[in-house]
């Protein structure tokens, strides 16, 4: 138990430096709503935390596991739809719907994981993509889930903790709480047994297998945990936006954006997802919105595409790779 507690709050080579950075980050986010009045800036902050949350979850399979999963949006969709449908049809309290969403995402991932992990590399990436798209089209087609029209959550007149409906500031602290919980979980996970096994499998599958690690089993476990983590963010999306449809919570673009956030920030590091989200989300929300307002559609994605190409060609470890090199003075 003490071991677990120590792992949660301890960092890598530069424990002091990284704790300070974390502390500064926490304080800045905590006091953010007191200093920033603009509703748009607050929305940007919430979206940043949401994508940092998604990226943290994806980093487990994509960063520590080295498996390019391009279907994380289906798990977000499972979480979002579990919350939305249970609230709409049975008036279930929010906190009961979250485990259900996580359960469905995990169960589905477990069901498809074994055949998918017979594949490696590119084949695996395309398989995840196909499965996620098949689910999305099914949700578009299915009447009970609202089809393409989506699901609207009835709005409560007063702030309500059972259904998690309150003002913007409330959501800010809510998503920050979820984010911090997941951040600390990931910080523990990367030093837990499964985390080390996963990184060994990523670095060299044959060597890992020869040391007695069950390669497929490790990957499947990681894939299922990632699915559960993705579903949490999906549940949050439902109560925050109060409306979901398949185009919003399950599109391919979301899967890609999540994976891209991790890639840009630095896959396989604890800070990468945060850095990536901090780089991409404001770019999208300010530059993209500003250019689209001027009638220039898609410039933000041109820039995204360009950044990814550059990073893939010259710095596969992302921004964190650059920072690490500077710190080490090389």
């Amino acid at each position: 138990m003490r071991r677990v507690l120590r792992d949660i709050f301890s960092f890598g080579d530069r424990p002091f430096f990284e704790r300070i950075v974390l502390l500064v980050f926490v304080v800045v986010v905590l006091i953010f709503p007191w200093f920033v009045e603009s509703a748009y800036a607050r929305a940007v902050m919430i979206k940043f935390l949401l994508f940092a949350l998604f990226a943290l979850g994806w980093n487990l399979i994509g960063g520590y596991g080295g498996q390019v999963d391009l279907g994380q949006a289906k798990n977000v969709g499972f979480g979002a739809y579990a919350t939305a449908l249970m609230m709409l049809h049975w008036r279930t309290p929010f906190w009961l719907t979250v485990p259900v969403g996580m359960f469905f995402a995990t169960a589905e991932s477990f069901a498809v994981a074994y055949p998918m992990f017979r594949l490696r590399g590119h084949y695996f990436a395309i398989a995840t993509l196909c499965v996620a798209l098949a689910w999305k089209e099914l949700f578009v087609f299915w009447d009970w889930t609202g089809g393409a029209r989506g699901v609207e959550i009835p709005i409560r007149p007063t702030p309500n903790f059972t259904y998690m409906q309150f003002g913007e500031v409330g959501y800010h602290y809510f998503i920050f709480g979820l984010f911090m919980a997941q951040f600390l979980f990931m910080n523990w996970f990367r030093k837990a047994k499964l985390g080390y096994e996963l990184q060994a499998v990523r670095d060299n599958e044959d060597a890992a297998a020869s040391l007695g690690i069950n390669v497929t089993g490790t990957k499947v476990k990681a894939y299922c945990i990632t699915a559960a983590l993705g579903a949490i963010g999906g549940s949050f999306m439902t109560v925050y936006y109060l409306y979901i449809d398949p185009e919003m919570v399950m599109p391919l673009d979301l899967s890609i954006l999540i994976a891209m956030t991790v890639m840009v920030g630095g896959a396989g590091s604890i800070w990468g997802p945060m850095i990536g989200a901090a780089a991409l989300i404001p770019l999208d929300m300010y530059l993209g919105a500003w250019l689209a307002g001027g009638g220039y559609y898609g410039i933000d994605f041109i820039i995204y595409g360009f950044i990814i190409m550059i990073i893939a060609a010259y710095e596969p470890k992302g921004v964190w790779g650059i920072i690490e090199r500077i710190i080490k003075g090389r």
Partner: protein, 285 residues
């Protein structure tokens, strides 16, 4: 009975087109083990070439096919030269995301220049014409597209298996290092594979533009179909891609007739089932 014949005929015709689209993807994968996510974007560029030449120049979209092929070839070679050579050195994740970045870049560049509107080809010799073959009546542009795709597929097949250039290409795909020792310029072969990939899919785009709606985001749909086709046939196998293309065309045609909202879902499910039962594809080794 008539309906069944019509559905199956259309399925097979579309199958030839899908096979031709998958050809370039399969070739590139066979030669350098890289999956090109931007393949569908090359197709979209081919569609826009057909659209623009027929709108702004007094050219029939059929005449502009060589232009589409040339632009596709240049696009392919450029992508190889300026992006793929760099990402080939990196880890697999970087390779995947590199072509992904290229895909986003091309797609939104076209959207930026020509706008996000959905367009269709309005004039051309074959647009909207029907030909009747005794008991069934078929869309002339689809017959034309399928026929040309079949012909060009045979041509590329011939080139790969019967010419010296093709032999060098196959040698590179079997063992690049050994091929280099034998004096084959493998860098050039890689670039050539990308050029062929771009040219074939550019032509396919020009043909598809005759009867399919044109929008900057269309590429994703076709690249997924191409992935499914290539995986079904076995990555790197050219004859496999041909048969798989026909299978995918039939799945899409028959499934689309009964449940048109789910016609692409059937393709994804077929891909997934192939992966479950035969990870190497139907004709992979």
């Amino acid at each position: 009975m008539e309906l069944a014949t019509q559905i199956i005929t259309y399925g097979v015709l579309m199958g030839f087109v899908f096979a031709f689209i998958a050809l370039g993807l399969s070739l590139i994968f066979g030669v350098m083990n890289i999956v090109n996510f931007a393949h569908g974007e090359f197709l979209m560029v081919g569609m826009y070439v057909a659209l623009l030449t027929s709108t702004y120049l007094p050219l029939d979209p059929l005449v502009s096919l060589p232009i589409a092929a040339a632009i596709g070839f240049v696009l392919g070679v450029f992508s190889y030269r300026f992006l793929i050579t760099h990402i080939l050195r990196g880890p697999m994740v970087a390779q995947l995301f590199g072509t992904f970045g290229l895909m986003l870049f091309l797609r939104y560049l076209v959207m930026f220049i020509f706008g996000p509107d959905v367009r269709t080809l309005s004039h051309g010799v074959l647009v909207g014409k029907n030909i009747s073959l005794g008991w069934i009546s078929l869309d002339a542009s689809k017959v034309m597209a399928a026929g040309l795709c079949l012909l060009l597929f045979a041509f590329v097949y011939w080139m790969i298996y019967r010419t010296k250039l093709g032999r060098a290409l196959r040698a590179t795909s079997l063992d690049a290092e050994a091929a280099r020792y034998m004096g084959i310029d493998t860098e050039r072969m890689n670039g050539f594979a990308w050029g062929i990939g771009g040219a074939t899919v550019g032509i396919a785009g020009g043909l598809l533009a005759h009867f399919y709606y044109i929008t900057p985001t269309i590429g994703m749909l076709f690249v997924l179909i191409a992935f499914a086709t290539v995986a079904l046939g076995g990555f790197g196998s050219i004859s496999g891609a041909f048969l798989a293309g026909i299978i995918v065309g039939l799945i899409q045609g028959v499934g689309g007739h009964y449940l048109s909202e789910l016609k692409f879902t059937f393709i994804y499910i077929a891909y997934f089932l192939t992966v479950v039962f035969r990870p190497r594809g139907l004709f992979g080794w």
